[in-house]
């Protein structure tokens, strides 16, 4: 380290762990993240992993942000390089002045290093081999050992970290002992050999509050439990698999009948996504709340059934954890590229309700609300999350639930209603909101039975090929979709600190990067109002927002500006007014990218408040 000053920063840096997947590094890295959070400092970690089970490179990238930003920052200030396979690129990625932590058991030639970084070699393997006999344990404690070293190097509280180890292995004293010992070995070695702390350090703060740390897929699984789902049909696919796994484990905990030990839920692993959605539709038709979780390829397979559910008006909930498409695409990278495939899924004139959670908290709340909406509207409802929030743990508001809330089962005619002689036309618009009444099989011996089909029928569910019946039905479905606008979660408006004619729209996991980008722009005197859209169909607020601004940036994580297309299509917006800000290389979008693009575009529009030379955000690489 001679040509550059070492980076100095407290509570604001990016640390990246380069590991080999299947080596048990994930839990050690997570422990490290939690140790920092215990110090009241905000972290946001992200797994970057291959579509492979063992032996391939993985990275765990963690942003520490004293200001509380949760989006990916980009760049790397410290690299913990534990994977020889990726050594060269990992070392190259480090910012000038950065820190390289590595296992120095084996000597490496000078040429393998850079002279503008600080190199911290710790003989991890040697220390493990000396102190641990079991081969598998050696590998696992090696990970904890580097965590111990980092605790010393970054000035993290050792006692807090030890407590975390005990919590993680509660009841397994032997494991606690082995891990705490490794933690201390790493810690003490770093203390002895390096001047701790480094220029990078963590300082106790109070930025975490009562927030919780969980991944979006688990939150969806929990949302399905709270939302009253009893039937899940699914087929495994990255990055959605853990939604149903989480549903299963929360169900075992919360939905096992205490007396009989029996399950108040049913999970069927289907033979493919066609069968998965078929089961959901069968269960929904029969009055159970049912869902599936999938990703792009599964959505493609479900198309015909989704059209049936739309046209036959059957509630269904689909969690789509989006990944990079098209085709198999980038199965372990994030994108928001299934919007059009879901919004207009299936042939013919279809429209579906989509919800866009921003973080695990909303995965839980919208994930539960989806069931009320599906039954109220008698239609499929898609919860559109993505790999970035689905498979990464994220700090978010603690979950809450109003115990006075009751499930909205929608317009269901009961035995008593039928007995009382209520007229029943399955596809009759009685209330003018486009939503008809339905009955559940088995309700009444002689009243309320009807025949469900995907073909045209009259309001009384009788087969019909009459154009008038078809048109009546399509107009009613249109009305129903208009009703949906008033029921779906409203968008979230964030006003700039000064009045502005510039707006930006984002959705889903882009939220945190958007908020940070706005702050960057404000620092630079650029004011932008933002609207985070939370659902399709778009409520009136969305169109009002567009009308109230001269230029509206639409920030998305896909290549073809899918939300923008939907806004233009549904709101009859002049396309020029909606400016694309698109990030789609599979990494989560960053604030620097958004702010840079917006600043650049504003220069191009010659928006008068801007001095181009005074704009340091221009030409910032994604």
């Amino acid at each position: 380290m001679n040509t550059r000053q070492a980076i100095r920063s407290t509570n604001d840096f990016v640390i990246k762990f380069a590991n080999i997947n299947g080596s048990g590094s994930a839990s050690a890295n997570e422990l490290f993240a939690r140790a920092i959070m215990r110090m009241g400092v905000t972290v946001s970690p992200r797994n970057i992993f291959p579509s492979n089970i063992q032996g391939m490179p993985t990275w765990y990238e963690m942003r520490v942000s004293g200001e509380g930003w949760l989006a990916r920052r980009g760049g790397c200030d410290m690299m913990v390089a534990m994977n020889p396979q990726t050594w060269d690129r990992d070392v190259a990625e480090l910012a000038p002045g950065g820190y390289l932590v590595y296992d120095s058991t084996k000597m490496l030639p000078r040429s393998k290093f850079r002279d503008d970084i600080t190199v911290i070699g710790i003989p991890l393997t040697e220390m493990c081999n000396r102190d641990y006999t079991d081969v598998r344990q050696r590998q696992l404690v090696r990970n904890i050992m580097y965590v111990g070293a980092l605790v010393a190097l970054l000035d993290i509280d050792l006692a807090d970290t030890e407590r975390l180890v005990s919590e993680q292995y509660r009841g397994k004293d032997k494991l606690i002992d082995a891990n705490v010992r490794a933690l201390r070995l790493g810690h003490d070695y770093a203390r002895e050999h390096f001047s701790c702390p480094l220029g990078l350090r963590v300082e106790r703060a109070d930025a975490v509050g009562d927030r919780i740390f969980i991944d979006g897929n688990s939150a969806c699984g929990l949302g399905a439990v709270y939302g009253g789902a009893t039937v899940a049909g699914w087929y495994p696919i990255t990055p959605s698999t853990s939604v149903v796994e989480a549903f299963g484990s929360y169900c075992r905990k919360f939905r096992t009948d205490p007396d009989s030990g029996k399950a108040r839920y049913a999970i069927a692993q289907a033979e493919d996504e066609l069968a998965a959605i078929g089961m959901v539709i069968g269960a929904g038709w029969n009055g159970a709340r049912a869902f599936t979780a999938t990703s792009g390829p599964g959505i493609s397979l479900m198309q015909e059934f989704l059209g049936l559910a739309y046209f036959a008006e059957i509630p269904a909930v689909i969690y789509d954890v989006q990944r990079g498409g098209p085709s198999t695409g980038m199965p372990t990278r994030t994108q928001q590229s299934d919007l059009l495939a879901c919004a207009y899924a299936s042939h013919g004139d279809t429209r579906h309700v989509l919800l866009f959670p921003e973080d695990p908290y909303e995965c839980f709340t919208l994930g539960a609300q989806a069931f009320d909406l599906a039954e109220r509207l008698q239609t499929p409802v898609f919860v559109m999350l993505d790999l970035d929030i689905g498979m990464n743990e994220r700090l978010c508001r603690p979950f809450d639930w109003d115990d006075s809330r009751r499930y909205d089962r929608g317009k269901l005619l009961t035995h008593a209603d039928l007995e009382a002689g209520k007229e029943f036309g399955r596809y009759l618009d009685v209330d003018g909101d486009g939503i008809p009444y339905r009955t559940i099989p088995g309700t009444h011996p002689t009243k309320g039975a009807y025949f469900t089909r995907g073909t045209t029928r009259n309001p009384y569910a009788k087969y019909s090929e009459a154009g008038t019946d078809y048109v009546y039905n399509m107009e009613r479905l249109r009305r129903k979709f208009d009703t949906a606008k008033t029921l779906v979660p409203a968008p979230v408006l964030t006003k700039a600190s000064a009045p502005t004619r510039i707006g930006a729209i984002c959705y889903g996991s882009t939220g945190p990067a958007m908020a940070e980008a706005i702050a960057l722009l404000e620092d630079d005197g650029i004011h932008v109002d933002t609207l985070r859209v939370r659902a399709f169909p778009f409520s009136d607020e969305v169109m009002d927002f567009i009308a109230a601004h001269d230029h509206v940036f639409v920030v998305e994580q896909n290549e073809s500006a899918q939300l923008r297309t939907m806004l233009i299509n549904e709101g009859e917006i002049t396309p020029k007014k909606l400016v694309r800000v698109l990030h789609y290389d599979g990494t989560p979008i960053t604030a620097r990218f958004i702010a840079g693009r917006i600043a650049d575009e504003l220069v191009a529009f010659k928006v008068s408040t801007l001095e181009p030379h005074a704009n340091p955000l221009r030409k910032v690489a994604p």
């Binding site: 709270y226 029996k262 399950a263 108040r264 069968a275």
Partner: protein, 351 residues
């Protein structure tokens, strides 16, 4: 199944079952199938079986795919909820419905195209999973609704109406069902109601996947010479292994049979299957024997019918999943939602 709208008034001597229902209470909309279509006779057999068994129509859920055969649920059990789903996918919809409410009777109706061509995957997996259902394939060897193309059950060498010979090997759905774990497997002929009605009854009283392959001639596209699914061909090559009578626990009638000619199978609900021997010695509790018998006779050009296999000790998907007795679709909020206190504890564990 009903061809002509009938007068509403009933004669005083119209037969009624134990529930007080007449046969007409089990009928549905007027059939739109071709006159003489085998499928209509199957609908009539379903009506007869449900009437005889005193089944409350609203306790039945009838589901189908797409095809002439899959249209038929509209033509029987008008007081039952029905679901005409998408082509080849009835089994998954039925599975989901059965998960939602374990107390209804599930009747799946499909065609040979629906089940053996586009839907063979779903057919196979529903059998494997042990869904509690009666699954009837109305098998005519062609796609009736799309005008007579060969289906996957068409025999190799059989001719279509224009004389084109089918070169592909046939799929025997009954043989597949045996191999895949169905616990009640039968084959019958739409033209033989005496055989078919009891087979449907036995299936409706069976717990687990009950499959009936019913050869059901398509009079419009596959009833000519050279077809192996025509009325004439099936009559000439029908090789029944037994004749079934279903005796309900409440009916105490004991018919007398010559010694050695009868097998008795008691099902989980106490219903008794009386299997009368017809010619050959056939053991319907031997799955492998049944598979062999089907293959041997098929090689001789025979169509084996009757109750091919039954295992009355089997359980179903709900048993495998250990679900509660109460239907999942009837569990109230209190049984489903863990509430805010559970969340508080959960939040604490996530910090």
């Amino acid at each position: 199944m009903t061809y002509l709208a009938k007068p509403k008034l009933l004669r005083a001597d119209t037969p009624r079952n134990a529930l007080g229902y007449t046969r007409r209470d089990y009928e549905g909309a007027i059939s739109t199938l071709c006159a003489g279509c085998g499928h209509d006779s199957i609908s009539a057999s379903i009506v007869q079986a449900c009437f005889d068994l005193d089944i409350e129509p609203h306790r039945v859920a009838k589901l189908s795919g797409i095809g002439c055969s899959s249209k038929t649920p509209d033509y029987f059990l008008g007081n039952s909820h029905g679901f005409n789903s998408v082509h080849g996918r009835m089994p998954s919809v039925l599975t989901g419905a059965a998960l939602a409410n374990r107390t209804l009777l599930y009747l799946g109706v499909s065609g040979d195209g629906d089940s053996a061509s586009i839907g063979i995957g779903q057919f196979a997996h529903a059998m494997r999973r042990g869904v509690n259902m009666t699954y009837i394939v109305e098998n005519n060897g062609v796609y009736g609704l799309t005008k007579g193309q060969f289906s996957a059950t068409a025999d190799k060498g059989s001719k279509n109406k224009k004389g084109v010979v089918n070169a592909d090997s046939p799929i025997d759905l009954a043989a597949l069902a045996l191999q895949l774990g169905a616990t009640y497997v039968a084959r019958s002929f739409s033209g033989d109601k005496e055989q078919l009605v009891p087979l449907i009854k036995g299936a409706l009283h069976h717990r687990g996947p009950a499959f009936i392959d019913v050869i059901s001639p398509c009079v419009t596209f596959n009833n000519h010479t050279g077809s192996t699914k025509s009325y004439d061909y099936v009559r000439e090559h029908n090789a029944a292994v037994n004749r079934l009578d279903v005796i309900l626990p409440k009916a105490q009638i004991e018919a007398s049979y010559p010694p050695g000619s009868l097998r008795r199978v008691v099902q989980h609900d106490g219903s008794i299957l009386h299997l009368r021997k017809v010619g050959v010695d056939y053991d319907p509790s031997d799955r492998i024997g049944a598979m062999n018998h089907l293959q041997e006779r098929h090689a001789l050009g025979e169509i084996v019918t009757g109750l091919l296999y039954v295992d009355s000790s089997g359980d179903d998907m709900h048993a495998h999943l250990n679900t509660v007795e109460k239907p999942l679709n009837q569990l109230g909020d209190a049984y489903l939602c863990p509430g805010s206190s559970a969340l508080a504890a959960l939040n604490a564990s996530l910090r």
